[in-house]
Symmetry: D2
Subunit: 250 residues, 4 copies
């Protein structure tokens, strides 16, 4: 079984820099590129696609809510039609840069509140999946195996890649504990945790309990202080354990 | 020789309504659809594409400067890279809606200040044409046969459709006199003027002089009070004179 | 007892026109002027203040959520700090135009979702009232007498003006039925309904039931087709019944 | 003669951090706070005002063009009315936070392209000065003594504070050489240059020539790598030379 490393990329905006794309791109196998609504702008998108191409990283669209100030993390009460249309717009815009670079768009991963809403509300999951299908039926949807998004996507015929979170905690209900800044963690501990998720399908929650977990793509964040140490350790342990780190086939 | 009728469409935004798309779409053969920077939003774009499809109208992208408040009419000092990237983004976004509707994107026409800058500055013309090529080499560029855009586009291998303006005046230098509101004009006078532009390649300017003019697509505006009378009169006279009103072939 | 007529004004944005401010301003006694987040822009604000001054209408700030596309009607999950700060910003911006025109700011009325959130969530009511206090303790808060906003405002020492809605329906729970477009209503029926609300403190709901209602400012909308007939009829009946139509004293 | 140290502050936006406000505020005597158009948001503004208060720093408004992506550095062809109104709006918004903090607004300094346009075009200088007067006649205008802004401001009765740039170069025409990133400079060299500007009214340009220069406020940038060393050195030399570092009196 192959394991994919995905990370959010292209989150800078105009003069504002966010993340460490230049440094982190080489460690991952697929990049979730912001599309200009919650982060990113056209020039940042073009450059991020070029950087991914340079390192042979698959490019996915990372569309978010239309709220730059809130970074797409403040829930907004959009209609299902608005969610669908905002997705088509953003994925289409990124696809143009990907194809202009001679590549093919690989996947879609909703960002922030949109990601959460996709798991929690069936109608949102449907709107998002329909948007992906409307742009390109062969795109992967990246999502956690929890809540509505996975089953909805599978029933609608989308190819789904389930995610494991390496550097965020799961709470007692199996939800992610989102933090504004990502804490430094010991690389070997993160690696051990990922190995366990992959091999045993289990992870320890912040409550001390254990929950079942399933996925083939490990999500990592570029802005943890020791991000490159973490990703190197996880990759090394995965490869040692017989899991090649490779993106899902285009 | 066929003559095309193009008009700007999809300029509403959220709750704000602009133009008379529902009423005017049936009179034209190609629609320039706003892409969300100077006007339009994702839902407006989707609905405008659906309306064009309903009437068999070809759909083009109408990208503009990133300035909703100024409606893309306030010149902005973007870099050539920003112009290129803003174009790719917008054209890509619209293309996604066009393809989701089972259609193929037909053309690109820059909006407002971007249109003017394309005629006046060679480097802008190049940036715009490169963006169109980067998205799809088969797209038509709609532009006036004046200034840099036409020759640059032709030399770069783009298919160009030259425009004639039916309901705007040309000043002594052959530039358009842009007005905030479009005056009511006598339909038969507009029709006679268009016939003369098409047949004789001449038009009278606001200075009373005559200038040479060339084009195969007539641009019309949906928000003139008697817009439908004008477009009907122009079409009738063109067809009487042996010019079928048809969009350039996809 | 005096009765005030308030209406939302200054909701145009750039080239986009909304409402009939020019025509409707003369019928009202206090104007709620949009502040650039959900509608309005600086030039629209300045012109709206000038128009209010021309007709001797009191000027209030009408701040909304930062969502122009959604017109401030899509609930957003802002923090209490963000709500407070977004209010201070918008009220301060409008106040500058009011004072530049030689007037004094009269009141604050939250717009759309912000108005609804102020009634439904105590913490939001507190954040909003604190923002008003932080800008100017003498400002009136316009709000419905229902839910948290009124009691919170009174307990925090704000001067409160309760609103009655003339041209919108109340549902069985006493909440407003918000519609995208305002229906034409018979002026004499609206007038009778307002008289009853003012004199008897009662109104019939869409369920056919009766609820208690209390207020001294009647909110009217400028974009109903027969808005000026309605406002004229309501004023005539109120004055006949002994209620002068006058804004709350500055 | 007192010398003032001013710096641009509050340029972060939402999750995006810019500058080193926390660290740099203690070194300056007046802060130019971004007002939400080219940078800053309401919460950033409030926090920046609080930080200035903590260090006894005078607070000025730093309004810019409505272009967050371009950071207010891309010239935009606004009408004089739009420039005036955009200024009143932003200065009014910031003033609300300043007064809510129990302070009084001290000055206005236009940002980026707006600053440049104020020096180069008389009509822009007038629009900007009128806006400052319309908000509060007692506000200082911070500007370079070059071009139209100074004379216009003085003739319109504004109090003007002329600026000297410590960490940017002047070109042969006396214009600033604006760079995206501010180079590390030797603190003692910057200090010597400032002393010479203050005492002799002269500065060396990038052409090697000398030009006359006049001013009482030194502008410094917080994002140079050794910014705090520079500001400490400049202050030390100024005080040694008998120039107290103090903001202009409120």
């Amino acid at each position: 079984m192959n394991i994919d490393f995905n990370a959010d990329m292209g989150e800078s905006f105009g003069m504002y820099v966010m993340g460490n794309d230049e440094k982190f791109m080489k460690y991952i196998t697929s990049a979730n590129v912001a599309c200009g609504f919650h982060a990113g702008d056209p020039t940042v998108m073009k450059k991020t696609v070029a950087l991914a191409k340079q390192y042979g990283v698959q490019v996915g669209a990372h569309p978010g809510l239309p709220d730059l100030q809130g970074f797409g993390r403040r829930a907004m009460n959009l209609t299902m039609e608005e969610i669908h249309d905002d997705m088509v717009y953003q994925v289409g815009a990124l696809r143009a840069f990907v194809e202009a670079a001679g590549l093919k768009l690989h996947h879609v991963k909703p960002h922030g509140s949109l990601y959460g809403m996709a798991m929690q509300r069936e109608e949102v999951a449907k709107a998002i999946c329909q948007a992906v299908l409307d742009v390109d039926k062969s795109l992967y949807l990246y999502i956690m195996k929890k809540g509505f998004a996975g089953p909805v996507a599978e029933s609608m015929g989308l190819r789904v890649v389930y995610e494991l979170y390496a550097d965020l905690d799961y709470d007692g209900d199996g939800n992610l504990v989102i933090t504004r800044h990502h804490d430094v963690r010991k690389p070997e501990e993160v690696a051990a945790r990922v190995i366990r998720m992959v091999r045993e399908g289990k992870v320890k929650t912040t409550k001390g309990t254990e929950i079942a977990i399933e996925g083939t793509s490990v999500c990592l964040h570029s802005d943890t202080a020791n991000a490159s140490d973490i990703v190197a350790a996880v990759r090394k342990e995965l490869e040692k354990a017989g899991y090649p780190v490779v993106a899902p086939k285009l």
